[in-house]
């Protein structure tokens, strides 16, 4: 049981990194609290697995500290850290039976025999492996093997955290949700800190209480699935979370308007004067606006736009996805996706759209621009 703290942590696979691009993990500070269920989400190659291996001790970070309950563990080998890790491809010791596999970590720790028996049976019961205990591990199916790998992490009383490195990649879809639920149950039962690496947002949001979204070696946002959806802190979060992702449009600041193509959005409709002041002082700011397809309001005439700026656009395509539809709209040169709820108005050739103030996000240098913080 432990809280895992990353302090000024950075890692590079190169010997003498200088550019930020040389780092697989760029300097970060982060805390995984004891007992939490976390997901580490991000695209391939963003540094998720590197970060996981640093926490478990398979990799030594080039800079910064990893602390378990305030104790620096940088120099410690994985076996001294009391961490369990489940890998992408199930690792079972195939010359051994399932029982021996589960007992392996305990035997290595020289537990007494009756204690081993009791622990293995307990864990086999939780994971529904009891019937397979006497089978040779190499004859198991992929999901059974993965359960055995998880079991080896769970049998030890002393594990401070279990790390999962995309554990469901090789599992059949219909077994995925079963195993995921099992994990959730285990988490509730044993109150162990769990960090789950995945590139699948659905997996992340069903498993975790809080998601850390990684991009280019950094955690760009750490929050509940809802926070990631509603208030993306970074344009990448907007793009990566949601299906389809956030509409992100590059804009210029001219006079008192955001301008893209020949469309004008009056600043005063979205920001208060103090914030406008700050933005106007920046020289050639890298500005983007973002809005989720779910929050775009589509109507057929101006009067329904609730006094918000309203734009006419061409309907390029309507995709019917069963319970909802995705409209692709052309506004200026931009293609904008909007989600239309089941019983809502479906435009045909032309539509009027507006961006509700609450859901239009403004990004300065890719990060969310907040009025109160500045």
């Amino acid at each position: 049981m432990a809280e895992i703290r990353l302090e000024a942590l950075a890692h590079s696979y190169l010997e003498s990194p200088c550019k930020p691009e040389d780092y697989a993990i760029r300097e970060m500070n982060h805390i995984w609290e004891q007992g939490g269920a976390y997901a580490l989400l991000g695209p391939s190659g963003c540094g998720k697995s590197t970060l996981l291996n640093i926490i478990s001790g398979l990799l030594t970070p080039s800079e910064g500290h990893v602390k378990f309950d305030q104790k620096t563990v940088n120099g410690l080998e994985p076996n001294q850290r009391n961490i369990a890790q489940v890998f992408q491809f199930p690792v079972v010791y195939d010359s051994m039976s399932v029982f021996d596999n589960l007992a392996f970590p305990l035997r290595n720790l020289k537990y007494p025999k009756d204690k081993i028996d009791q622990k293995v049976k307990e864990i086999a019961d939780v994971l529904d492996l009891t019937a397979l205990l006497n089978r040779r591990a190499n004859h198991l199916t992929a999901d059974e093997k993965q359960k055995v790998s998880m079991g080896r992490g769970l049998v030890r009383d002393d594990v401070s955290a279990i790390l999962f490195d995309e554990p469901l990649t090789v599992i059949d879809p219909h077994l995925k949700w079963k195993l995921r639920r099992k994990l959730k149950q285990i988490h509730e039962k044993f109150n162990i800190t769990m960090v789950y690496v995945t590139h699948d947002q659905l997996e992340a949001s069903t498993f975790a209480d809080k998601i850390a979204l990684m991009y280019q070696g950094q955690i760009v946002q750490f929050g509940t699935p809802q926070e990631l959806f509603e208030t993306p802190e970074h344009t990448f979060v907007g793009y990566f979370i949601g299906s389809p992702g956030m509409n992100i449009i590059e804009v210029d600041l001219k006079g008192s308007n955001f301008i893209f193509d020949d469309i004008k959005l009056p600043l005063a409709d979205y920001l208060d004067p103090a914030a406008i002041d700050i933005l106007c002082k920046k020289e050639a700011p890298n500005l983007k606006i973002g809005i989720r397809p779910e929050f775009i309001k589509i109507t057929n005439n101006v009067s329904q736009c609730d006094n918000q700026p309203c734009f006419e656009c061409n309907v390029l395509d309507i995709e019917n996805l069963g319970t909802y539809k995705i409209a692709t709209l052309q506004l200026g040169q931009q293609k904008i996706k909007a989600r239309i709820a089941e019983d809502a108005f479906v435009p045909t050739e032309k539509a009027m759209i507006s961006f509700p103030k609450r859901w239009l996000k403004i990004y300065l240098d890719e990060y969310l621009f907040r009025e109160k913080n500045l």
């Binding site: 994985p78 890790q85 010791y93 089978r135």
Partner: protein, 288 residues
Amino acid sequence: MNLKVKNNKAWFLVLPVLALVAFSAIIPLMTVVNYSVQDIFDNSSVFVGTEWYREILNDPRLQSSLIRQFVFSGAVLLVEIPLGILVALMMPKSGRMASLCLVILAMPLLIPWNVVGTIWQIFGRADIGLMGAFLNGIGIDYNYASNPIDAWLTVLLMDVWHWTSLVALLCYSGLRAIPDAYYQAAKIDQASAWAVFRYIQLPKLRSVLVIGILLRFMDSFMIYAEPFVLTGGGPGNSTTFLSQTLTKMAIGQFDLGPAAAFSLVYFLIVLLVSWLFFTTITHLDNKK
């Protein structure tokens, strides 16, 4: 309903292979079978049935060389397999040193058998050989030409020197094929180095070891050139193994009948032992 289209012309396609196999294997083998049941004089031959078989199986010279042969092959396996595994485990995993090791290991394998024999024949000579003279110099009485045990050990050493590389290379490739995740999982499971070897590396080496053991058994069971070059099978008969006994019989004494019977028995022994070994191993693997 039978949907198979019968087309007997297809057999013509198999014919070339059939002819090749016939001329390279079946016909020579059948000739040997033919010899083994006849007594051949200059221009005539008499059918003798199983007489040659009975004769050679009761020949004490043959029986003793068969026993010697088994002891030798057993010793070869006992030394080369563990040693090969050990060498493979100690080799660097990647980089320039790994390539260098591979080249050095591959070198003995490129040397022909009789050259290996000659190298060791000179190397071991008690008067001028580097090893032989050195051993005698520090007071160890070593002479392969007069002492059967020394001769025996020299042949064994020669074979180990020549062929351990093969086992090591096979094991090395087997070890490299083990995914890193296994070592990482073992680290996390707090496994000791011995446990890693016993439960990860050794089981994963199983298939290459089967190949290695089979190759080394068959090869050492047919050893000919090395002892022949070293001492000509002596001193006495101490390093006269099966193939040499056979050659003496077939070419030296021109006993074609018994030699043919002997060849077949020899062949069957190699086949039988290899088959027994292989089926036992695969059987164990499929259990449960």
